[in-house]
Every structure is written in structure tokens, then in C-alpha cells.
């Protein structure tokens, strides 16, 4: 019997607004506990929440990027439950009439594109943070009221890889839009998964479990892999999957049922009387549309088309908006965009990874990469020397021309000069010449090495090779 997994993801993204969704408290991360709180976000009696306009703007932005229906009329609802990190005893969220419905996240998998359909996206407030200690649970409400968008996919994914790609693609888009920093480890992007299995070909969905506590992309995939296998095993043994919430335990690599009271939650949603309806007109949508940046997929296609670089390279370059923009500025300085891409992807990213830095941290200006490539293309320096120059650029941020000039790294392309060097080397190594004559053609490598040693790698290798062969054949 072949089984098929069915996965739907619920992703919460923290929006990069300066203030909370319903009050003017700062959303800055890392402040001492309970210093970014006020009567509104603490749910004191008699206060009125007022919606942060930026939150709506960001939601519209995401809606446009994911082709969602933007509801002209939407409203807020109260989701009622008790937990110490929820000061009001309810969370302000959206229930009926969420701001966005439909739409899709496009993923690239197995060499092709696939659209993962969305159910809805709604606005809500975050809860506080609880730290459990031996003498009690400590609650910090700085995060309570930070704006979130909850993005709910339809149950249309069938493998952990698909789910992983969906998350990466979504993260890339929200980062391009500048509405969320997408940091899963710090919790600004969180993911819960609904997963069930069924016999392949069946239409009816199996009983699902909800997975929580996955704090990185890797763990989402691992947790899903484990849970799918677990459910298949249960079914194979003739058992039934129990609908429950399970927590991923990253140390043991398994999912465990959550130890919670037997009661099923009943949220008793109702429209929040404190918040008035939200009306979004076409003008507002058009105004937001004008602020949309070029999105990753469009950028990818344009890079391949406009710069003629390899698709797999373009894909890495568009991963981060800053990197893509860096490449583009560098490429404009050079006639060889592919070389520019190579330098950025292998050398620059290599150094940055080594130092645990990001593209925004580098001292090298993108234009300088373009200039370096031009120096190589024009034959002013060799590719090998260029690596030395690059290292210097990385350390000092100096212009490649300046480094080349100051260190005397200009390539020797003068045929007469190289010819002289070739003759010298051949004369002082008669044995090697004999070996060459006897048929050991690879002795040529030794001669090249000798000449490079004499010139500190500055001799043009093509000319060296050519003249070496010529001189040796003449002997």
C-alpha cells in the first residue's frame, strides 16, 4: 500500500513596524521585560485599541505579492482563551472577513515551478513571552501586541521538501517586501504544520495532527519526516491516528503529544466591538502597489535574460535582495556579468561565510568587483593574481587599480620580456629540456612554474605557454 502525506502550514510573521498593532509601544527586540507596555497592550479596563495603519499597508503589500483577494471590508474578532501570556483573556485577531483570501506561494522544486494555494491571511496581535523557572513562570509583555500576519496554506503539500521550499519562498518574499526579517531562530517567523496521511489516490483527508515548536527550516522538514513516518506506521499496524497537537523535540528528534488538559479549546470568536470595520478602497491598493519592489522570481528571470548568467547562479543571487542588488551594481561595471557572478558567489560569499558576515558588511563596493573583472578581461592582471588582489580588496576596501599599481602586480604581457625569461629558464635546466625532448611533454609544467616563480606569478600564462612550446620545439 502506498501512502501519501498531506501538509498544510500556518506561518506567523512578525511585522517590521516601529510600534505595536493597537498602541504606540515600541516593538524593539531585547528591551528589559515589561518596559514596552501600556494600559492598551496590558488590557486594562476602559482603554481603546487603535489600529496601526502601517499594519494594513504591509498586509496589502503581501496580498499583492501573493495575488490574494484583498477584502474591501474586513473586521477584527476576539479569540477567547486563558493563558498567562495573554493579558486580556482574548487575542485580537480576524475570523470571518480576514483582510486577505486566496492567492498562492510559488515554489521551485524538482526543476519546475509549483503554486501552493493559500486559504487566507489575517492580522492579529502577538502574545507575551513566558519563561518557566523552578519558582514559577515569568511573564514579559513586551511582545504582547506586536503585529503579526498569519498565513494559512491549503492542505496541498505532499512532502517535507515541498513544505521547506514553501517556507523558504515565503520568507524570501516577506524579506524582499521589507515587512518581516524572517528570522526563525529569533521567532519573527514561526511555523506550525498540520499533517495527515492517506492511501494514495484517495480524496478524503486522513486524521491530522498539529506540529508545533519547530524553530528552523531544517527542523520543520525533520519534524514532518518523522511525523509522516509515525502516522504511516500507526495505520500499517491497523491503528488510528489521534487528532492532537504534538511538539517537536529537537534533541530526541521525535514528536510528542502535548501534555495539556483534556479540554478542547473553544475560542468563542466574536467581532471586537472596540475596533471599527476596515474599508480598503482601490486607491489605497494602487498606492501600495506603487511601492512594491521587484520580487525574487521576476528578478531571477530578468537576471538570466538581461545578464545571460547561469540560472543556478541567478537563483543564489536573488536569494537575498541585498545580494541581488549588489550583483546588479557590480555587473553594470563590467562586460562580463558571468565573471562578476562567479567572483561574488565563490570568493566574496566564501570570505563572508568564513567570517560569519553578511553582504551588507563587506568593505568591497560592488563597482570594485566589476572593475576587478575588467582588469582580468583586459589582461592587465592574471586570474591568479586577481585572487590576491581580491583578498586585499576584501581586507582594505581599496580599489583594485590602486592595489595592482601599489603592489606592482600588473601582468607581464611583453613578448620580448617573456621570451628572455623562457630562454633563461631553458638554459639553466638542460636536464628538463632533455626529458621534454625525450617525450615527457608534461615537463612543460615545471618550466611554467619556474617562470611564474621568477615573475611572482605576473607573467601572462598563455604567452608563457606558447613561447615555451615554441622554444622547446626549436631546440
Amino acid at each position: 500500500m502506498e501512502y501519501e502525506a498531506v501538509i498544510g502550514l500556518e506561518v506567523h510573521i512578525q511585522l517590521l513596524t516601529k510600534t505595536k498593532i493597537f498602541c504606540g509601544c515600541s516593538t524593539d527586540f531585547g528591551a528589559p521585560p515589561n518596559t514596552h507596555v501600556c494600559p492598551v497592550c496590558m488590557g486594562m479596563p476602559g482603554v481603546l485599541p487603535v489600529l496601526n495603519k502601517k499594519v494594513v499597508e504591509y498586509a496589502i503589500k503581501l496580498g499583492l505579492a501573493l495575488n490574494c483577494r484583498i477584502n474591501k471590508f474586513s473586521r477584527f474578532a476576539r479569540k477567547n482563551y486563558f493563558y498567562p501570556d495573554l493579558p486580556k483573556g482574548y487575542q485580537i485577531s480576524q475570523y470571518e472577513l480576514p483582510i486577505l483570501e486566496g492567492g498562492a506561494v510559488e515554489i521551485f522544486i524538482n526543476g519546475g515551478y509549483k503554486k501552493i494555494a493559500l486559504e487566507r491571511i489575517h492580522m492579529e496581535e502577538d502574545a507575551g513571552k513566558t519563561v518557566h523557572k523552578p519558582d514559577g513562570s515569568y511573564v514579559d509583555f513586551n511582545r504582547a501586541g506586536v503585529p503579526l500576519l498569519e498565513i494559512v496554506s491549503k492542505p496541498v503539500m505532499h512532502s517535507p521538501e515541498e513544505a521547506g521550499e514553501y517556507l523558504k519562498s515565503l520568507r524570501r518574499i516577506v524579506r524582499y517586501l521589507g515587512i518581516c526579517d524572517g528570522n526563525m531562530e529569533e521567532g519573527s517567523l514561526r511555523c506550525d504544520a498540520n499533517v495527515s496521511v492517506r492511501i494514495k489516490g484517495e480524496d478524503k483527508l486522513g486524521t491530522k495532527t498539529e506540529l508545533k515548536n519547530m524553530n528552523s527550516f531544517k527542523h520543520v522538514e525533520k519534524a514532518l519526516e518523522y511525523e509522516i513516518e509515525r502516522q504511516i506506521d500507526v495505520l500499517k499496524e491497523g491503528g488510528k491516528v489521534i487528532q492532537q497537537t504534538r511538539l517537536w523535540d529537537e534533541k530526541s528528534g521525535i514528536t510528542k503529544p502535548m501534555r495539556s488538559k483534556e479540554e478542547s479549546f473553544e475560542y468563542r470568536y466574536f467581532p471586537d466591538p472596540d475596533l471599527v470595520p476596515l474599508i480598503i478602497d482601490d486607491k489605497w491598493i494602487d498606492d501600495v502597489r506603487k511601492t512594491l519592489p521587484e520580487l525574487p522570481k521576476e528578478k531571477l528571470e530578468r537576471f538570466i535574460e538581461e545578464y545571460g548568467i547561469k540560472p543556478e547562479d541567478a537563483r543564489v543571487l536573488v536569494e537575498e535582495r541585498e545580494l541581488a542588488e549588489y550583483f546588479e551594481r557590480a555587473a553594470k561595471e563590467s562586460k562580463e556579468p558571468q565573471s562578476v557572478a562567479n567572483w561574488i558567489l565563490s570568493e566574496l560569499l566564501g570570505y563572508l561565510n568564513r567570517d560569519g558576515k553578511e553582504i551588507k558588511d563587506t568593505l568591497i563596493k560592488p563597482e570594485q568587483i566589476g572593475k576587478l573583472v575588467e582588469l582580468v578581461e583586459k589582461g592587465i592582471i592574471s586570474g591568479k593574481i586577481a585572487k590576491t588582489v581580491f583578498k586585499e580588496m576584501y581586507n582594505s576596501g581599496d580599489d583594485p587599480e590602486k592595489i595592482v599599481k601599489e603592489k606592482g602586480l600588473i601582468q607581464i604581457t611583453d613578448r620580448g620580456e617573456i621570451e628572455k625569461l623562457v630562454e633563461e629558464v631553458l638554459e639553466s635546466n638542460p636536464k628538463a629540456v632533455e626529458q621534454y625532448k625525450a617525450g615527457k611533454k608534461n615537463t612543460i609544467g615545471f618550466f611554467v612554474g619556474q617562470i611564474m616563480k621568477k615573475t611572482k606569478g605576473k607573467a601572462n600564462p598563455k604567452i608563457v605557454n606558447e613561447l615555451l612550446v615554441k622554444k622547446l620545439e626549436e631546440k
Binding site: 504606540g24 515589561n34 496590558m42 489600529l51 496601526n52 519558582d135
Partner: protein, 95 residues
């Protein structure tokens, strides 16, 4: 009619404890309220849209500008227990 189980359920969701001897009283009061509300159903409301708000207000916003938060000591003053600037509550297991 509201059954006792339902009263029990509502109490549970509200985290209230109801003594067994109070059950009859609460059930009766619940039913009185519901019967009173039933009177609305005697009116023909087929032409009325559900009113979620009593005002006609729409689109009330604030700009995304930081305003000073409250003094922490004032915020923590009403808490039965606090420590290190945090509210301390009886230990809860993960939700």
C-alpha cells in the same frame, strides 16, 4: 432550555468553579436571560443587517509612531507577584 452540562461547560471556559448546590440557580438564571432575548425573535428582522457596531465609524487609524510606554513599576503595582521586572505566575505547562 440550557442543560446543566452546558452551564458547566460555560463555567469551565470562563475558569469559574460552580458548586453543585449553585447549579439549579445558575441554570434558571441562564434560561431567564435567554428567554428574555428570545423576545427579539418575535420581530421581523429579515430586512435588517446584523449590527456589529453601534457607531457608523470606519477606518480609525494611528500612525506608526512610537509613544512612551508606561513606567514598569506602575504596571507591576497591581500584580499579586512579580520578580526581576516580570510578572510571576504559578507554573504553567506549555500550551
Amino acid at each position: 432550555m440550557v442543560e446543566k452540562e452546558e452551564v458547566q461547560r460555560v463555567a469551565q471556559l470562563a475558569l469559574l468553579e460552580i458548586e453543585p448546590e449553585q447549579m439549579d440557580k445558575f441554570s434558571r438564571q441562564f434560561n431567564e436571560i435567554l428567554e428574555y432575548m428570545e423576545e427579539i425573535n418575535e420581530l421581523d428582522l429579515s430586512q435588517c443587517e446584523a449590527a456589529f457596531h453601534i457607531t457608523e465609524l470606519k477606518n480609525v487609524f494611528r500612525e506608526d509612531k512610537v509613544e512612551p510606554s508606561y513606567n514598569r513599576d506602575v504596571i507591576l503595582k497591581n500584580a499579586p507577584d512579580s520578580e526581576d521586572g516580570a510578572f510571576r505566575v504559578p507554573k504553567v505547562i506549555e500550551r
